[in-house]
């Protein structure tokens, strides 16, 4: 029994859309950051599925670099979250609105 690559792409589209929805709806800055990670993972699944489709290693190399950059981004992002919490004493994104007009 074989699974069409299209199923993998649909699964990744669903995961990406849930990530977008969580990014828009969630009010906790850490959860918002987690939904960004979910979107990155969804795109990674697409890369691996297409690497399988065209029998190319390049897609997997791309996923490897995305993982490396995501790790660096998570470290810096969480440090920024800690800094924001120190100065404002809240994790609510609505309370961090100094740049808003």
């Amino acid at each position: 029994m074989a699974v069409p690559i299209a199923y993998y792409l649909v699964l990744s589209a669903i995961l990406f859309s849930i990530g977008v929805g969580a990014f828009l709806i969630k009010r906790n800055i850490i959860t918002v950051f987690m939904s960004i990670e979910l979107m990155l993972n969804a795109v990674n699944l697409t890369f691996v599925a297409f690497a399988h489709q065209w029998h190319q290693v390049g897609g997997q190399i791309f996923v490897f670099f995305v993982m490396v950059v995501a790790a660096a981004e998570a470290a810096v992002g969480l440090a920024i979250i800690i800094a924001v919490f120190r100065t404002r004493n809240t994790l609510n994104v609505d309370a961090v609105d100094l740049l808003k007009l």
Partner: protein, 164 residues
């Protein structure tokens, strides 16, 4: 067998992602994100990406999520406040997301005949295949990312340090 495995772990992925969306406590969201990432590792294995499956477990559901849970515990994050920042996020966001997922699913499923099928053991990228490309053709980008990680470590320490 392959189809059953795909549906089990794909279903786990979607369930974990929805749980992330509906849980109000950040630690519950973090744990459901670990479920999503571990199930994705299994899907990578089904697609013949053995190195990436291991890296997914170690880097994502290991390192990154431990960092997240540490920060949640460090900041003692409680339940989410029910503030409604912008109505536009609800009014435009949710229908927009639904349109996005149905449009993408429609396109992928209508192009199904042009896309191949995945069978177990069909196309296996071993670690040596991957490292051959990574350390020969892409050596310079690889080294640049190590510099990037070094800069990120310095930035994280500088940002999170207590000012005095």
């Amino acid at each position: 067998m392959y189809l059953i495995l795909f549906f089990i772990f794909g279903g786990l992925c979607v369930a974990g992602a929805l749980n992330l969306l509906f849980q109000r406590h950040p630690i519950n969201s973090a744990l459901s994100l670990i479920v999503v990432m571990s199930s994705l590792a299994v899907l990578y294995l089904l697609l013949g990406a053995e190195f990436l499956a291991a890296a997914q477990v170690i880097v994502y559901s290991g390192a990154i999520m431990v960092l997240f849970t540490f920060v949640i515990m460090l900041l003692n994050a409680g339940k989410e406040d029910r503030t409604h920042g912008s109505r536009a996020a609800y009014i435009v966001g949710i229908p927009g997301v639904l349109v996005l997922v149905s449009l993408l699913s429609f396109i992928f499923l209508s192009q199904k005949s042009h896309l191949a099928n995945a069978r177990l053991g069909d196309y296996l990228v071993t670690t040596s295949d991957l490292s051959e490309v990574l350390f020969r053709d892409l050596l310079l980008p690889f080294e640049v990312t190590s510099v990037l990680i070094l800069v990120a470590i310095l930035g994280a320490v500088a940002l999170a340090r207590r000012e005095n």
